[in-house]
């Protein structure tokens, strides 16, 4: 038995592990028996007890994630808002202090360099969170784009631990540990305070499709925050969750993963994220001309959700067929733990993206039937 087409290999050899970054929580992961893999230049836990277990914990109770591999870029200065508006496709100036927006940094040709979350911490102070695999590229590119503005970038990626608690019981577990008013903290909001007595930024954001929080603390305090949350959550059934569950959770929630749904060869409109691009905002921004053209002419491909109705699981890179004709490619696919069937996201031709369209996915040289469905696959029930 050998792995033939693994989106992410489950194996990591001890040999290359020594060149990887380790988070401040690495000893905790090892003590929990995590399986560690390389991800974005970091040695990270892919699973502890098992992906299905961890996935269900987040949907039904809550899960604890070490996301210290993410990039934390602080942007500050009199022109910080204008500078970010010129560097990114969104308009962070429209954020009130304490709120966040999903954004992207694009190349002049409109291709996505990374997708980001921008938090407004003060009138001219922002936190930009980038993907681990792109953190250096984004840091360098953003620093260059800020050059002509009165704004400075402080890359605190290697000085920040990020611990997330995600799931319907996250708020009740975190509340007794923090002085931040969680009831008053809306979705996509952030507040400064303490968690377990440690100075922290607490954000109500996540990548799982559930309610939850992301807690930013100084690098060295990461293990204390993790340990406090794990202890506080024990009775509620909170368990440690790895990148494997994070991937299945985000896929069910229809959220893109950089490197799968997003890359330099893809623009935000193709990814169905045109709403993030503020073409009408005051001032120029990198990628505007190219993106305005895409907005006018329409995207060349379209990201869709698919459910495989035949036998098999669609995986990253598998061709999508319309009859005999190749019409697209699967970007992410797995067995959905919540729905109990194989789901996928794929790029297809723009005229083949209507829900209900029957296409097929080529799985090991055989066409297997799949139906286009609306995204997301899973939406949490809103509290009454």
């Amino acid at each position: 038995m050998t792995e033939s087409a693994a989106p992410t290999s489950l194996d990591v050899s001890a040999g290359n592990a020594e060149h990887l970054h380790e988070t401040a929580l690495i000893d905790i992961h090892r003590a929990l028996g995590a399986r560690l893999i390389e991800f974005g230049g970091w040695l990270m836990p892919v699973q502890y007890t098992g992906i299905l277990d961890e996935h269900r914990a987040v949907r039904e109770r809550a899960g604890l994630f070490d996301l210290s591999h993410m990039g934390e870029l602080f942007v500050e200065g009199d022109d910080a808002g204008d500078a970010l508006a010129a560097a990114l496709v969104s308009d962070p100036r429209t954020l009130v202090v304490g709120r966040a927006q999903y954004s992207m940094i694009c190349a002049p040709d409109g291709g996505v360099i990374d997708d980001l979350i921008v938090y407004r911490l003060g009138p001219e102070r922002f936190l930009v969170v980038a993907n681990a695999s792109n953190a250096t590229v984004v840091s360098d590119e953003l620093a260059a784009r800020l050059g002509r503005w009165r704004a400075v970038l402080d890359d605190r990626s290697l000085a920040t631990s990020l611990v997330a608690i995600q799931g319907p019981r996250a708020a009740e577990v975190l509340a007794p540990l923090t002085d931040v008013d969680l009831a008053g903290l809306r979705y996509y909001a952030i507040a400064e305070g303490h968690v377990a007595g440690i100075p922290a930024l607490v954000a109500r954001t996540g990548y799982t499709g559930e309610d939850g929080f992301e807690v930013f603390v100084d690098w060295a305090r990461g293990p204390e925050v993790w340990t406090a949350l794990a202890a506080a959550g024990e009775d509620a059934g909170v368990i440690a969750c790895g990148l494997g569950a994070r991937d299945t959770l985000r896929l069910e929630a229809g959220m893109p993963l950089y490197g799968n749904e997003l890359d330099r060869g893809t623009n935000p409109f193709e990814a169905g994220l045109g709403r993030v691009v503020k073409l009408e905002k005051p001032g120029d921004f990198v990628g505007r001309e190219a993106l305005a053209r895409v907005a006018k002419d329409g995207p060349a491909k379209q990201l869709v959700g698919m459910v495989v109705t035949g036998r098999g699981i669609a995986r990253h890179g598998y061709p999508v067929l319309d009859g005999e004709q190749r019409t697209g490619v699967v970007t992410s696919g797995t067995h959905s733990p919540t729905l109990g069937k194989p789901i996928a996201m794929a790029y297809v031709a723009p005229d083949e993206g209507a829900p209900g369209t029957i296409l097929s996915v080529e799985i090991r040289e055989q066409p297997v039937a799949a139906e286009v469905v609306p995204l997301p696959f899973y939406r949490r029930a809103k509290p009454a």
Binding site: M1, A5, T248
Partner: protein, 126 residues
Amino acid sequence: MVPSDLRYTKDHEWVRVDGDTATIGVTDFAASQLGDVVFVDLPAVGKAVEQFATFGVVESVKAVSDLYAPLSGEVLEVNADLGSKPELVNSDPFGDGWMIRVKVGDAAQLGELLDAAGYEKLTAEA
């Protein structure tokens, strides 16, 4: 400890020979490396499998892995339970998680497989 009455491939399949019937599955080591198995694709009854050639695929949440036949032979039976309960591969890899039964073509092929001690040595090094 893996069962001592089985023979093993270096690719983590096992085979149990009973008369001229061989039962084939994957080891507990393989199941644990894979993680939660969610799909198993096996050949139809009547098809021929060849020693050390792929006979099917096992998929966990995250990974796709080929299955290699420990012996050549004709498929007599396929474990139909794995269609609805692929997790049997994780919970009982040497028992209810078996995959296929084949009619043994050439018993001498057993000589090319590892015994339990040899297989344990292999996984200890992995």
